[in-house]
Amino acid sequence: MNTLELVLSYLTLLSLLVLCAFILTRKVVSILPFFTIYAFVLLVDMVVVWLIYEHFGFNSLTAYYSYWVSILLHAVARSLAIAEMCRYGLRAYRGIWALVWRVLAILSVLLAARTIFDARGVPNRVAIYGTTVDRDLALASIVILLVLLLFRNYYGITLEPLQREIALGICFICIVDVIGNTVLRNIFTSYLVSFFLANQETVRSALNPIFQRVSDLWGIIHLFSFMITVGIWCYALRKPLPARQEMPAMLPSSVYRDLSPAINMRLASFNSRMVELLKP
């Protein structure tokens, strides 16, 4: 670990401590329990990985495995925080929520299947599996957030400021993860592929400095962008949380049953006239 990585690690730890302090003082757990868990998972993971580095050494095999386990743990905690964000605020709109959760669940299954399919066939090494799975889960997070926002925007249900900043932070770190892991995976499976193959000890030791340099560079980029994300969340929590929005009063079911077909009929009439207009 070089000096820059060390400084960034300290700063990240500090920013995570500030974030967790904000989360506790603002009582975020009462509205977003999974986001709270996510933040604490990040903090605890960072401390545990740090202790492993201290005890076993930065270049040890234990440190290597613990790093990748922590990355996957982050991805799982992040997925739960995103699922919570999908549910929060939308479940009050019962009709829309019934539609949205089904679409998002199908999409999640498809994206998870894509992750498994993508990870299959890569050389049997943790680093390549890790980069592939982490990249695909980050991409899945972006797609799920996108679909959620499209639904909310379409139905005119805006996000509260706190949720918006949390989504922005998640989106930012996911973009960096997707791009970074794609680059990393490309390097691992092309220039450094011999490093991961069995029975290539001589080549492996020759390529080890390059592998370490690439990992260090990615570590710096990841830590730096992670700090920005934590900064966005801290900024969102700088003020006390506003009162929760009131639950909307639902219309009688008959209003939708009667008006919706009529509206669609009228919209269809606009379209058929537009088509007629284009006829010679």
Binding site: L146, G156, L168, R266, N271, R273, E276
Partner: protein
Amino acid sequence: MSNLAAMIPVVLAISGVLIWLLYSRKNSAGSPHATAISAIDNGLPAPKHFRYFRQIRQALSSSDAEYLRQNAPMYVAQQALRERRGVALDFLKGLHEDFSNLSRLGRVIASLSPEISHKQEAERLKLTAKFQILYAVVWLRLYTGNLPVEQLERLTGLISRLSARMDEAMAEISAQAAGQFHEKLGT
């Protein structure tokens, strides 16, 4: 490298859309409740741009154009025809507004309903997408002069007749829905 070259632009484009959606204020104006209550109290919003149909029809009539070509100096006639096209484009924009208002009302009602039909929602989404495409094609053809402005008469005439019939039907449904809604809210 092809994986990399394909992945990065796609991710950046998706992220751009995502950030735009996060900070877009398109749908924040007006409370959904107020819109829905107003709709069920007053019926569906009338396509207000049809109100000016008669004046528009006169402005776009072929006899007017012919008269201009025969009696006015060339530059005056050309200027007038350009303006006619401008009027037609503005009118088309108005139709778009009518469509958007109606579609938005449909979405607001759906969002405030305890249960919705997936089929109805999918249909409205399809209709909206189709209208946007048709609107773009008609706009482009009008703008480039490939669509005689007289054809707008057909569109406006048919829609206004249909709207009048629809309003009668809607008045009955709205009265019934408003009664139930106010009863539920205790107002």
